[in-house]
Symmetry: C2
Subunit: 147 residues, 2 copies
DNA sequence: CTGTAATCGTTTAACGTTAAACTATCTTCG
DNA sequence: CGAAGATAGTTTAACGTTAAACGATTACAG
């Protein structure tokens, strides 16, 4: 199988799958973004709150690793969350380079309110697929993503 | 089937498929972005050049519709392409509100060089899947995206 | 013909994103 | 101890993105 000629039909099938994947993701992202925006959060802000909610307070550099974002980016997102009173920065007394990011009461309340709705929105979207189809989609995506 | 109870297992399967879809798309996008960056283009710039290359010169508002982007966004992307000499703006003499965006010779040369490489990169990625799997993935994405 | 709509593109403000330069702090090792 | 190097976070520059306000132009109603 390794040396088979891959013709134009093969290209077309790949490009067709690619464009459908991209459109699907964009549509999904736009829909979920609307939901979060109605709750006053951006996707990035939600990501930070959700990480803090499920994993507890974290140093900013750990947050970078978890969310796969750059340091400069997190400075801004945490700035905006702090501005809105959803998060608090606490300097580490042992290592004064480090900063611990914590949910405020307001932030905790916000994520407890927003997370279930967000989750429901995802589940609802995916329920156009059967359980088997969800599993198939996940498996194909996993192989494609780690290629 | 319509009134079946959807339990936590159902939620887990949906969320699992969702996270794999997102990771896959991000990984794919990052990879393709690197290729374009090496050629001196951003994804958005590539999108504009590719549209002009395959569909011909277009008014800026038509470009907005084709690429599903806001007007303000296209002003910036076209600005940057113009700055790099890849594109030219021509005021419409009939309707002086309108602006026709055209590929320059340099832009035409650039997209002729970059497009095949970009296409190959996509095809190569998707060739970890069989033709049938590509089709399955495309079909599932289509249903999910139009839900 | 004239003033009111509607349309096109730009600008601005806000947020996100990265890479790279920079500051402050800590660690290590001579 | 003290200098060199590593690490944490911020800042800056560049690009992308949207929504909303705006200026210029055209279309249309009266």
């Amino acid at each position: 199988m390794g040396t088979h000629f891959k013709g134009p039909e093969n290209e077309v099938r790949s490009l067709d799958a690619y464009i459908k994947l991209v459109r699907c993701t964009e549509s999904l992202a736009a829909s979920l973004e609307r939901g979060l925006k109605a709750a006053g959060l951006t996707v990035s802000q939600f990501g930070v709150l959700e990480a803090l909610y499920h994993l507890g307070s974290m140093h900013q550099n750990v947050l970078c690793e978890k969310l796969l974002k750059s340091g400069g980016n997190l400075t801004m997102v945490v700035d905006n969350l702090e501005k809105n009173g959803l998060v608090r920065r606490v300097r580490d007394s042992r290592d004064r380079r480090r900063i611990l990011v914590k949910l405020t009461d307001k932030g905790d309340q916000k994520i407890r309110e927003v997370f279930p709705a967000h989750k429901s929105a995802i589940v609802e979207k995916f329920n156009v697929l059967s359980d088997e189809e969800k599993q198939t989609l996940g498996a194909l995506c996993k192989r494609l993503g780690t290629a």
